[in-house]
């Protein structure tokens, strides 16, 4: 029987690359693709894949909340999180969300097949950096070891995080309501609760919070060169 994999990444070109990599393996099949987290949840429920691979930085619903929603629906889902960063905070959140694999996008060509194999054999797979953190007692010490830990803020519910991401992505309350099949009034209530819980007064505060907490990710321009470019070649 084939191992069925669902791919969720907002870049089609990345999905193509992942598909080409995974389908080289005999007996593995990419049974579906999703362009964002919400679509990933829908397709996973419909297709029942053996493994779901989710990018963290997806629009509408990020990969961490996608993982949480998938496991709420069915704790048997096996999720590998793909990420561009291995910061302590992202690793901790991926583990908390219930991911059983954690692979850096830059290392995916090397590690992803091993990660899927591990999950297939009912094991977990994490990049060496995660193993280092676990060994350091990161989890046992109540997540207290992270030096760069963000200041403690009240916890948002899953729905509030979802709405925070959508608002931070520039959607109006009405648009959020439409996306989530809620009334605008309900979204406005959630929005007020979020702002009150976090003691925020502007959407700008919310955007900064969403970036700091990996609900959304931004691409920074490249750093300027430290020295003048090399000598001209004829």
């Amino acid at each position: 029987m084939k191992l069925r994999i669902l791919l969720a990444d907002d870049h089609e070109i990345v999905r193509r690359g992942l598909r080409a990599l995974l389908e080289k393996r005999e007996g593995w099949e990419v049974c579906g693709e999703a362009n964002d987290g919400r679509e990933a949840v829908e397709k996973a429920l419909q297709l029942k894949p053996d493994v779901v691979i989710v990018d963290i930085g997806m629009p509408n619903l990020n990969g961490l909340d996608t993982t949480r929603q998938l496991l709420q629906h069915d704790p048997q889902f096996k999720v590998i999180v793909l990420t561009i960063t291995d910061s302590d905070q992202v690793i901790r959140e991926a583990l908390d969300a219930g991911a059983r694999g954690f692979v850096l996008k830059s290392d995916a060509a090397r590690d992803l097949v091993s990660a899927v194999e591990a999950l297939q054999n009912k094991r977990m797979f994490f990049t060496p950096r995660v193993n280092d953190l676990v060994l350091a007692g990161f989890l046992e010490k109540g997540h207290a070891l992270s030096r760069n830990e963000a200041p403690k803020l009240p916890t948002l519910t899953a729905r509030e995080r979802e709405i925070t991401q959508l608002l931070a992505e520039g959607n109006s309350s009405k648009e959020v309501a439409c996306l989530l099949n809620l009334s605008t009034k309900t979204v406005e209530t959630h929005r007020s609760n979020i702002m009150r819980k976090l003691s925020f007064h502007s959407i700008r505060d919310l955007v900064v919070y969403a970036i700091k907490n990996n609900l959304i990710q931004i691409e920074l321009p490249p750093s300027p060169p430290k020295a003048p470019a090399g000598p001209a070649v004829a």
């Binding site: 870049h11 193509r16 690359g17 995916a108």
Partner: protein
């Protein structure tokens, strides 16, 4: 028409995705890959590609710097940026650095083939997300 392409991106998975897309076209050949700007400059010297598909944000030497060097080193080479940066400022910088084309990564599956075809014929192809900016050049 034969087009020889050099792919430059620091993520092997992205290169793989671009390669499967490009090699679907008859006569188009990915003759090499590089994972940073410095390697791209070196490989361009050896392989003489017609088109370079170049990322902006990369280690060692970013795509803009590489583009400036290549403009002097290989004036006949056409450079097409494929990047995450959906920004008119970045696109302007890329064109000023000497690129002939600019495509946003999230639209690469839609725009890449048309862009490579255009730049290989020395025509500009620049498009941001939902905005056609072909008139920039």
């Amino acid at each position: 028409m034969t087009i020889r392409i050099l792919l430059v991106d620091d993520h092997p998975i992205v290169r793989q995705g671009l390669k499967t897309l490009l090699e679907g076209r008859d006569g188009w050949e990915v003759i090499g890959e590089a994972s940073d700007g410095a390697e791209a400059v070196e490989k361009a010297k050896d392989l003489h590609p017609d088109v370079m598909v170049l990322d902006v944000t990369m280690p060692k030497m970013n795509g803009l710097e590489a583009c400036r060097v290549l403009r002097r080193q290989a004036p006949q080479l056409e450079i097409l940026f494929v990047t995450q940066h959906d920004s008119p400022q970045m696109m302007r910088e890329a064109i000023e650095a000497g690129a002939r084309g600019y495509v946003v990564k999230s639209n690469a599956a839609r725009d890449l083939l048309a862009a490579v075809e255009a730049v290989s014929q020395h025509r500009a192809f620049t498009a941001l997300n939902g905005r056609d900016a072909a008139g920039l050049r």
